[in-house]
């Protein structure tokens, strides 16, 4: 069987421009639809990406190692040894880029005026630096100098609530492994500002060694945070880490540690596709309409072609080609338009007007749209697949015309 693709393509192209106004309006509609698909998904993806990043910066890390009881019972009683042997080897090998062993314990900080419950983090500043989990902005004073620093680093919000300030002494109360209250006076060496105000009031940092000493826990920690700098690729290295850790330890990825972020990411993936399909469905009415009318106007012509011996299959193909050309042009225009919109927004969109609402979703004050090639490909796939599917009906009708009746039409 001979398939004169070249001439069919020419025919389809010329037919497309016979009614240029209709084609242009349809092109505009497709371009707008595709633009919306890509821009909206880039904004949504940017938002989720930032939520996940911020969430993981606070968590911190993309995976954590704990005593198996610790997550349900975040008490110092559930401590574990510092990493050693195979686990240490695994932690220091690629693709893992940073890890930090820390003591995370509930504590009460009391000034002479007020007291607040906080989560106290006993850290080794060098390890945390590599992980990027220390507060970014230091307002006053200095960061912790080392794991044995005997000072405390407080958030500005917490310092205000405690009515205290840099250089003052406050009382740190926490529980040791025998459930006795361990307390000690500590000097405030630095005041930090966190991206999210809630974190500022929740976390206080002290030297790991100093805290271990207070609690009588030499070389013991409650949490090891691990990062490989890419939250999407955790599955690649997590199993090896789990195998290297002793069976008494629990090694979990972030989707299990922070279920909200995990489900958020999954919902967003699904939502992008649903949004694209919905936009296309609204668009498809116009597309079918255009094709139905284009076929209707050419009833006689199509009848003549058939009478002259053109096979129905070729007529079907010709209408489909026409639709394909229209969709492809629309996709091209829509994608270029989306790129033109998103490139100037690369440096972020200021959303500080709704900052506190965004904080409920663990967002900062700037939204960075994230253009993913996947989204562009997905929108193209959705538009082409569903578009051709929608064109099948008018194309099939065109190919099933009765030549005699079609020719008799005016």
């Amino acid at each position: 069987m001979h398939w004169p693709l070249g001439s069919l393509l020419t025919l389809a192209w010329r037919n497309l421009w016979r009614n240029y106004r209709r084609t242009l309006i349809m092109l505009l509609a497709i371009a707008l639809g595709v633009w919306a698909m890509i821009v909206m998904s880039a904004l949504m993806r940017g938002m989720t990406d930032q939520m996940v990043r911020n969430g993981l910066a606070t968590l911190p890390g993309e995976a954590q190692i704990h005593h198996p009881e610790f997550l349900l019972d975040p008490s110092v009683v559930n401590h574990m040894p510092m990493p050693a042997g195979r686990l240490l080897e695994q932690l220091n090998s690629a693709p893992i880029t940073a890890w930090a062993a820390r003591l995370r314990v509930p504590a009460v900080l009391a000034s002479e005026y007020a007291s607040r419950g906080v989560t106290l983090l006993g850290v080794d500043p060098a390890q945390e630096d590599a992980l990027g989990s220390l507060p970014e902005t230091l307002l006053e004073g200095r960061m912790l100098a080392g794991a044995d620093d005997r000072g405390i680093l407080l958030g500005a919000g917490l310092a205000a609530r405690l009515e205290t300030g840099l250089g003052k002494r406050i009382v740190l109360m926490t529980q040791d492994t025998a459930n006795n209250v361990a307390d000690r006076g500590v000097r405030i060496v630095g005041i930090y500002r966190a991206r999210l105000q809630g974190d500022e009031e929740r976390f206080a940092y002290v030297g790991r060694g100093a805290l271990q000493e207070l609690l009588g826990l030499e070389q013991r920690v409650t949490e090891i945070a691990v990062s490989a700098s890419d939250y999407t690729a955790v599955d690649a290295w997590l199993p090896a880490l789990q195998a290297a850790a002793s069976p008494e330890l629990e090694v979990l990825g972030w989707t299990e540690l922070h279920t909200f972020l995990g489900s958020m990411l999954a919902v967003q993936e699904g939502f992008v596709l649903v949004f694209m399909v919905v936009v296309f469905l609204v668009l498809s009415f116009g597309l079918i309409n255009t094709l139905v009318m284009a076929v209707f106007e050419r009833t006689r012509e199509l009848g003549l072609m058939q009478a002259l011996g053109m096979r129905p299959a070729l007529i079907l193909l010709q209408v489909l080609l026409e639709s394909l050309l229209l969709l492809a042009l629309g996709l091209l225009a829509g994608n270029s338009l989306a790129l033109a919109t998103l490139l100037p927004l690369r440096d972020g969109v200021d959303i500080s007007a709704v900052a506190e609402g965004m904080e409920m979703m663990e967002m900062g004050t700037t939204l960075y749209p994230l253009l993913a090639l996947d989204d562009m490909l997905m929108s193209t796939a959705v538009v082409l697949t569903l578009g051709l599917l929608a064109s099948l009906l008018p194309a099939w009708r065109a190919s099933r015309l009765d030549p005699v009746r079609a020719l008799a039409r005016h």
Partner: protein, 408 residues
């Protein structure tokens, strides 16, 4: 029936496939909008009700600066009397006094820093839903030495009803505050932040333990609905004449994140709706432009017979209006059925449970059917469709009868 109406109606059905496809686009878009808007408005309403109902209330009377700094000394004297006064001024039933302090809570095995709230046990259930969300035990009876804690706090402290908790903190005068309380009930609100922090004792005992005298930190008011808040705030300003150190805070000031979260969600939702509506408008534009172009000869004849271009434009406008009205009517009808069904059956999607817990929402949303949720979207689609007819109608004014009659 007027001749223009009849003409318009008949013209509409010359290409019945095209008309139905255009109407179909509108109906589909309308149903979609009704669905999205009712879920959206429904979840905002629930977000506000649940967030405020849980603890914050619609408005609070506090000492100036307490909301920001939460210092124990920023208290108001005779808080219970003040609450009764507010109750009288507003004629509202749901008013309660509270005291708030931070302390270290220790059970036999564990210690955690917590926020202790002193409440009036017989009034608190009227302003807050938490007392009604007991999982175990009972609510406070008013006796000294009783404490109700959140489910996560109970788990962290490893306590059950009957167990004792030691509370250590500092009193209003800076003195050492210590007490032993027996857990009588455990509250499970499903909101992790609340369940982790909640600890309530009776207000008189709270005042004793923290050396507060008759002081407290807030008077909480819950009103039947949000619309009454501004008036109530104005009414309570009268109190400031006598007590200039007091401030009246409404829910937006108490929980600023809430309105902003709604606003940002609303903005992104409207961008999406705008795109859908524009796409439908394009569909209508296409249909009407084609229907005008293919009738060029016919319009030429009508012009030659003395019909004014204005009247022709009105005809095209009327056709569009009929088309759009069909889409509006059918869309609202089908959309209302869908919305009514959702109101009964509820709506959920995989992953929604975790996300909703974040915003104090239940795992299934039952969006209420309101006039706003039914008409907002479809009316905008209707207007968009009418606007789309402007260009095709304007073209008629440039038509030359002779040339038009010869057009192919």
């Amino acid at each position: 029936m007027n001749i223009t109406w009849r003409l318009a109606w008949r013209n509409l059905w010359r290409h019945w496939r095209r008309t139905w496809l255009t109407v179909g686009a509108m109906v589909f878009c309308n149903m979609l909008l009704i669905f999205l808007i009712s879920v959206q408005l429904g979840s905002y309403q629930m977000m506000i009700d649940n967030s405020l109902g849980a603890f914050t209330g619609h408005l609070q009377l506090q000492h100036e600066g307490f909301d920001e700094e939460q210092r124990i000394r920023q208290s108001m004297p005779a808080v219970a009397e003040r609450a009764r006064q507010v109750q009288e001024l507003l004629g509202a039933e749901a008013v309660a006094a509270r005291g708030i302090a931070y302390a270290l809570a220790s059970s036999e095995e564990r210690s955690f820093g917590i926020q202790v709230t002193g409440v009036e046990p017989e009034r608190e259930p009227r302003v807050s839903t938490l007392p009604g969300l007991l999982r175990e035990g009972r609510y406070l009876s008013g006796a000294d030495g009783e404490i109700v804690v959140g489910a996560l706090l109970a788990r962290n402290l490893r306590v059950a009803p009957g167990d004792e908790i030691t509370i250590l903190g500092s009193g209003r005068d800076g003195s050492f505050a210590a007490a032993i309380a027996t857990v009588v009930g455990i509250v499970d609100s499903g909101i992790p932040d609340l369940d982790r922090a909640l600890a309530q004792v009776s207000l008189p005992w709270f005042q004793t333990v923290f050396s507060m005298g008759d002081h407290g930190h807030s008077v909480v008011v819950r009103l039947p609905n949000l619309e009454q808040v501004p008036l109530a705030v104005t009414t309570l300003q009268a109190l400031r004449a006598e007590h200039p150190e007091l401030v009246v805070l409404d829910w937006d000031q108490l929980q600023p994140g809430l309105r902003q979260a709604i606003r940002s969600d609303m903005a992104s939702a409207w961008v999406m709706y705008g795109v859908l509506i524009l796409l439908v408008a394009f569909s209508v534009l296409n249909t009407q432009l084609m229907s005008v172009l293919e009738r060029t000869r016919e319009f030429g004849v009508m012009l030659a017979l003395g019909v004014s271009p204005g009247r022709l434009a009105r005809l095209v406008g009327l056709e569009t209006a009929l088309l759009a009205a069909l889409g509006l009517g059918l869309g609202v009808l089908l959309g209302a059925l869908l919305a009514l069904y959702l109101q009964q059956a509820g709506f959920t999607f995989p992953g929604m449970e975790e996300m909703n817990a974040r915003f104090n929402l239940p795992e299934r949303i039952y969006p209420p059917v309101t006039l706003a949720s039914l008409l907002w979207g479809p009316l905008t689609v209707f207007l968009g469709a009418l606007l789309a007819a402007v260009y095709p109608a304007l073209r008629l004014f440039g038509l030359q009868p002779v040339a038009a009659m010869r057009a192919t």
